[in-house]
Amino acid sequence: MKRLTGFVLTTAISLVAGLAGLSHAAETVTRFDAIGSTTSDLVIASVTDIDFMQPLISAFQAINPGMSVTYIQDTSNSLDKSVSEACASANFFADLVISSSIAQQVRLVNGGCARVIGTPVLTSLPDWAQWRGELIGLTYEPAVMVYNKEAFAAEGPPHSRFDLIDLMRQSDKLNGRIATYDIENSGVGYLFAFQDSTEASTWGRLIEGFGRNSVATFCCSSEVIDRVADGRAFVGYNVLGSYALSRAESDERIGVILPSDYTLVLSRAGYIPREARDAPAARAFLELALSPQGRAILDGETRLLTPLNGPAALARLSGDDELALRPIPLTPALLVSLDRAKRARFLSQWRKSVTLPSPR
């Protein structure tokens, strides 16, 4: 952040004039001026916090001094809405769309909104981290549990879902002290929950336990972590590993657990929209992210990691060699979770379990 020559923060409405009439309340637009004289502008739309993306953008601008970068940040559902509308009306919205809500990304690519990236980097990526040569997984972020170290100082934290379920059943320790995503409003939270339900039979018991212990739900990983850090919650379930791991670096109060039964891994996915104005720049940005330099950045403070070296990096960070990592593949099977009927059923089941016993 310090090395930037220009840093302008404004609200959306003033800049995105082309989309006048649409309301995107949460949208923020950040503009990074070019180091040299501006020759071109790369527009990136993302749900990722600006702090996480900024090192990559700086590196990109150092290599391409003529490029200015416009960064549109939004919540996953709101971003998905904007991008879908732009795709349906064949309007430009961004040169690159990066989102952790990968089911929605797959839906957009499936809907023909993307163009072929056409980069040799794709061949080095594992198959699960790309689809059709149009959607590309950039990060390697596990779904982790965070816990308040002080709260578990005596008996130690739960290491798996089984431990968590037992803890919820056998004691009142976690009553009102569990936090997780609000899966109705968070794309990532819903995705993790849906994958949990297909991955193992623990899901039913888990949400039953959540309901009995009055789980608190939040929009974002950072809020869950904040709660765990200050002790209002003892355990945060299904938190994005990138946020948790980077926070744990600086915050002594929290610990991070990669569940030993299985650990879901999400790869934040990017695609170049069909209507992109500067596809070569977008491609260059993606190539940078997966280049040795980009990998060094993603492995760094942000702990976003990459699909190329994710397992090794996680093993190093957690000190555990036998991680049960389950990357969520970028395939059209993710569309099932977005099916209207399926989603409605899943959410109603969630609501029944989680909100029944004690209204918050």
Partner: protein
């Protein structure tokens, strides 16, 4: 290929190679076209099964719970479709009343729907890409919901195209390999099949130039005619060479005797002082000189006729014309005045060599003048057997039976006649033989004799030959 040397096109091996390559290329092209169509079909079938399977799984999970239609799309259905890893997936589920329950509301239905209950596979375009879709119906018969639920599942065609291309690529590799092997084997077979030709070629090259005996090498049937022609040619050459050698030997022998005699008589005449005896000697010298002159003439004539017998082409000739020209020539060379010509009114056509026939006729005249008794008559006629005849007729006593037996042999001369060279009738006989005719004599009863040749008659020629005769 115009830059190739013309010689290559004359090579059988080259032609076969070109033709075989052409044929194999055509066959290969045909196979590739077939493979293209087969590849498409195979890929379509394989992925249509996936599509059908996915639709079945989805249809199975439609149920009615508490009066509500419940759709629970199974992950496995999409897992199945994801076997075509790069393809986009679309689906749409429609209630009996036409309302889209879930999926892409705008996905097109098949244009012509035949039997409603059977699954229907169809091609359409959605979201800017060609897709293959299946429409399947499930009948719900519950209290609350009654009627067909339509399930449509569709997939883009990338995996199908890849599979088809793979099948085609493999077929093409197979065709190329098979074609190459076939061509190599065919060329080997051709090499083996053509080896007799090379054997003949080697035999020809290895031959002693003086060796004119026929080939005894076994030859394939295809070149039997060629070898036979070579053998015929060599036989002719052999004949010619022997004839030439015979002629030279004969001529040397025949010329030497009279010239020696002539010289002896000339020497006698130089020493003779008696004018009367000298006169007689001079007369004899003259007779000898005439004899040598005629001998030379006839030897050359014979040599020419022999040569022509092997080389001249036969043409349509009117024998009357031959007779007229022979008579004119005989008169020009002298001593043939008062020859009569007896010619029929119609042309007498034969297939022959004009020069040889003229020589034969001239020799007939000369022979008659030399050995017969005037008047001499040259007659052309058609015999009762339908053969052409040209003959010289005289009033002499003819030949003795001994002479008749040797008629036509070379140097069968009349020893009593110093002017006879004994070649005249030999020439006639040779010409007759060369024209598939015969030497014929008639008379000999004491006061009339006729010798001539009978030739096969050919069909009368075109009318204009009449005019030619008239000239």
């Amino acid at each position: 290929m115009p830059s190739l040397p013309a010689g290559r096109f004359r090579s059988i091996a080259w032609r076969l190679t070109v033709l075989l390559t052409l044929l194999l290329t055509l066959a290969a092209a045909g196979t590739v076209v077939a493979a293209l169509s087969y590849g498409q079909t195979a890929a379509t079938r394989a992925f249509d099964r996936l599509l059908t399977g996915a639709a079945l799984q989805i249809a199975e999970r439609i149920s009615v719970v508490e009066g509500e239609t419940m759709i629970d799309i199974p992950l496995s259905a999409f897992g199945l479709l994801s076997l075509a890893a790069e393809d986009r997936i679309f689906y749409r589920i429609i209630a009996p009343d036409g309302e889209t329950l879930t999926g892409d509301e705008s996905f097109p239905l098949p244009e012509a729907s035949g039997s409603e209950s059977d699954p229907l596979l169809y091609d359409t375009v959605f979201s800017g890409e060609a897709v293959r879709a299946i429409k399947m119906q499930r009948f719900l018969a519950e209290r609350a919901v009654r009627g067909p639920i339509t399930v449509i599942v569709a997939q883009t065609l990338r995996a199908r195209a890849e599979l088809a291309n793979e099948i085609v690529a493999r077929a093409i590799i197979g065709v190329i390999v098979a074609g190459g092997v076939t061509l190599a084997l065919a060329l080997l077979a051709m090499h083996l099949a053509l080896s007799p030709l090379r054997r003949i070629e080697r035999a020809l090259l290895a031959r002693d130039p003086k060796d004119l005996t026929p080939f005894s090498t076994t030859t394939p049937r295809e070149v039997e005619a060629l070898v036979a022609a070579i053998n015929r040619f060599m036989a002719r050459l052999d004949r010619r060479v022997s004839a030439m050698q015979g002629f030279v030997a004969d001529a040397a022998h025949q010329m030497r005797t009279p010239i020696t005699a002539l010289r002896a008589k000339t020497e006698l005449a130089m020493e003779e002082t008696d004018p009367r005896k000298l006169k007689a000697l001079q007369r004899r010298i003259r007779d000898r000189a005439i004899g040598v002159s005629r001998l030379t003439d006839q030897l050359l004539s014979h040599a020419l006729v022999t040569h022509r017998a092997d080389s001249a082409t036969l043409e349509q000739i009117d024998l009357r014309r031959v007779a007229v020209e022979a008579e004119r020539e005989a008169r020009r060379t002298g001593g043939a005045e008062g020859i009569e010509l007896d010619l029929p009114a119609d042309p007498v056509m034969v297939a022959g060599d004009a020069f040889s026939l003229r020589e034969a006729a001239r020799n007939l005249i000369t022979n008659a003048l030399a050995h017969g008794r005037p008047p001499v008559c040259l007659r052309v006629s058609v015999t009762s057997q339908g053969r052409a005849l040209i003959a010289a007729h005289d009033q002499g006593p003819g030949m003795s039976p001994d002479q008749l037996q040797r008629i036509g042999q070379r140097f069968a001369r009349d020893p009593s006649n110093a002017q006879s060279a004994g070649l005249g009738l030999a020439i006639v006989a040779e010409v007759a033989e060369f024209h598939q005719g015969t030497l014929r004599t008639a008379g000999g009863a004491g006061d009339t004799f006729e010798v001539g040749i009978e030739l096969p008659l050919t069909a009368p020629a075109a009318p204009f030959s009449e005019g030619e005769i008239a000239q």
